[in-house]
């Protein structure tokens, strides 16, 4: 079964002569283990599409199915639960909680899902250690580098074992080397664990990690091609780039 099915989805902001169509009749499906890179110029509707798939925004037309379930039938509380259990989010600006340490940031989704504190701590530590951040557990976000912050964000996105990871410009605030390392880490981890990943980005270098590359232009899906996908999905966690 597809993890995500987008069927003829549109999103229009405003109405009448001021109406702007950000996403125009887009359809796509994403399976488990897929790594989909969504590209396109600024304002093409990439982030709007990602927001709708992430259930943070409702489409004005068409429908989106997550694991076969039409999300338009779910209540706000059910959508929150769905995001918590099924999705991991990675943002351009990291969006870590400034008052919490790296470890606590990763614990957050687990605690929200009702995982006991001790177990949540153990899982968070394991996730951070897997991402080479075992020495940064007690550091606040302000004490971490950009690459470290994004790795914490990746650990947080993976904490609840989501089936789908949604990443919005994950390399935009990182230097080229760190950006590539972080993306490879995200995609490599997801790939090994058979999770689906949708990445919205301008960064052409991410093609090396993607299995499929979709281009959106003016709200419409213009092209879909195979990515280079040079990842060794079975690589040992220790071999992941720092």
């Amino acid at each position: 079964m597809n993890v995500v099915t987008v069927q003829d989805v549109s999103k229009t902001f405003g109405s009448g002569h001021t109406a702007v169509t950000a996403v125009d009749h887009v359809s796509l499906s994403v399976e488990a283990g897929d790594i989909v890179l969504v590209m396109g110029p600024s304002g093409s509707g990439k982030t709007t599409l990602l927001s709708m798939i992430g259930t943070l925004m409702s489409p004005t037309g068409g429908r989106i199915l997550i694991s076969g379930q039409d999300i338009s039938t779910l209540s706000p509380a059910q959508l929150s639960r769905l995001r918590l259990q099924e999705f991991g989010f990675v943002f351009q600006t990291f969006n870590l909680l400034s008052a919490l340490t790296a470890e606590e940031n990763v614990m957050m989704p687990l605690l929200t899902a009702g995982v006991p504190r001790k177990e949540a701590r153990t899982k968070a530590r394991a996730a951070l250690e897997q991402l080479q951040l075992g020495h940064r557990l007690r550091n606040l976000p302000r004490d971490l580098s950009g690459g470290e912050k994004q790795r914490v964000a990746i650990a947080r996105s993976l904490a609840n074992d989501p089936r789908l990871i949604l990443a919005d410009e994950p390399t935009a605030n990182l230097d080229a080397k760190t950006g590539q390392d972080v993306t490879l880490l995200l995609c490599g981890t997801a790939c090994r664990e058979n999770r689906a990943v949708i990445i919205v980005s301008h960064d052409q270098r991410l093609r090396t990690a993607a299995k499929r590359v979709i281009t959106i232009d003016d709200g419409r899906l213009s092209t879909e091609e195979a990515g280079e996908h040079n990842l060794h999905c079975s690589m040992h966690p220790e071999a992941a780039p720092a």
Binding site: T47, L50, S51, G54, L56, M57, P76, A77, S80, R81, L82, R83, L84, Q85, F87, F89, F91, Q92, T93, N95, L97, S98, A99, L100, E104, M108, P109, L111, T112, A113, R156, N160, D168, E169, A172, N173
Partner: protein
């Protein structure tokens, strides 16, 4: 989510300090005012409770010692002694006297200390003579300290010079206090030839008090008021006079606390709007987010309460030494309801931030 609330609070120490300070001030104000109210109420009733009587017999319509004058002929005693069930009936004389001393206005409620009938003695003498002699008077220690009247000083009471022979305690009633003179001196001050103000009646063991009251009140010139009721009637002076003022001050205290918590939590919520948006995006429900904000407010309020209560206790203990009129009684019951008010205040103050939180759009987190 309590850990997130605490982390958020601790992260912004200045704001936390303002929140805690605001609530502490509010609690200090409320607890001190309530303590004063309770202290003064108790003080008024304290002396009356020590007077040996089951019933106070007053002139009809007189309900207390201060608001409604009561003058009864001494012959009433014969009537009372003859009532079936009455154990004893003793006259009790006293009235308020104002005079100036050392340029200050002094108000005393002079009571005749009738050693023969064992009526009208001070509740507790803490310094000097315990029974006034001829030409002497025992005043309350609070008045002595606040008006700088020392034992051995002479004061002009209703045209008579009386020497202060001792200090008593438990007779200070806000604007005036009980003082005790011999029966003869008191009678000359009070000018009540052949009359007294009240009779103190005890009921014989085994007699039905209600029936005794009924028999006494068969005389239309008198009322029989139980001791507890008489205490209450006198205490109501404080309640009627000060309760409206106290209520206004309580509301001010609550408003101050609520405003400070509300504003600090609100500004914190606005500053952290993006982080709350992230939490919404990753699946934290609105209810869980509201809980975080309410927990922040409640935590700040509880800290403020602890600081405020400690300050109130310290102020209560210290201020009494410098300002004798500052008589407070802080009861556990009052501390408990003020904690309740503080918690309600915190939750109410969270409503505005919660409302703001509900409007945060999680899709905003995708904007750089």
């Amino acid at each position: 989510m309590l850990f997130l609330a605490i982390k958020n609070l601790v992260q912004e120490k200045t704001r936390l300090l303002i929140s805690v300070g605001g609530v502490a001030f509010s609690v200090l104000l409320i607890l001190s005012i309530q303590g004063l109210y309770q202290g003064w109420s108790n003080k008024i009733g304290e002396y009356i409770r020590t007077v040996p009587a089951d019933y106070w017999i007053t002139q009809t319509g007189a309900t207390d010692m201060f608001h409604t004058p009561s003058v009864l002929p001494l012959t009433v005693r014969d009537f009372l002694a003859g009532v079936d069930g009455v154990g004893s009936a003793k006259p009790f004389s006293g009235r308020r006297v104002a005079f100036a001393h050392n340029g200050k206005d002094i108000n005393l409620y002079v009571i005749a200390d009738d050693t023969e009938n064992n009526v009208g003695a001070p509740a507790r003498v803490v310094e000097g003579k315990s029974v006034p002699g001829k030409g002497e008077i025992i005043i309350d220690r609070v008045v002595g300290r606040s008006q700088d009247i020392r034992i051995g000083d002479t004061i002009p009471v209703a045209g008579r010079e009386l020497k202060v022979a001792g200090y008593s305690e438990g007779g200070y009633i806000l604007s005036f206090s009980f003082a005790f003179a011999t029966k003869e001196d008191a009678e000359s001050i009070l000018q009540l030839p052949g009359a007294t103000n009240f009779f103190l009646v005890t009921v014989k063991n085994g007699a039905d008090p209600a029936a005794v009251v009924s028999r006494i009140e068969a005389d239309p010139a008198v009322d029989a008021i139980s001791k507890d009721r008489f205490v209450e009637n006198n205490t109501n002076i404080v309640r009627d006079t000060f309760l409206p003022i106290i209520l206004v001050l309580l509301l001010i205290g609550i408003a101050v606390g609520m405003t400070v918590i509300g504003l600090t939590i609100f500004t914190s919520t606005i500053e952290k709007a993006r982080e709350y948006g992230v939490l919404k995006a990753i699946g934290v429900s609105n209810r869980q987010l509201y809980t975080v904000v309410i927990e922040q407010a409640v935590t700040a309020a509880v800290l403020g309460y602890v600081v405020g209560a400690a300050l109130a206790l310290a102020v209560s203990a210290a201020a009494g030494s410098y300002v004798p009129e500052f008589i407070t009684e802080i009861r556990w019951l009052d501390a408990a309801w003020i904690l309740g008010v503080t918690l309600v205040m915190a939750v109410a103050a969270s409503l505005l931030p919660v409302r703001r939180l509900s409007r945060i759009d999680p899709a905003e987190v995708f904007r750089a």
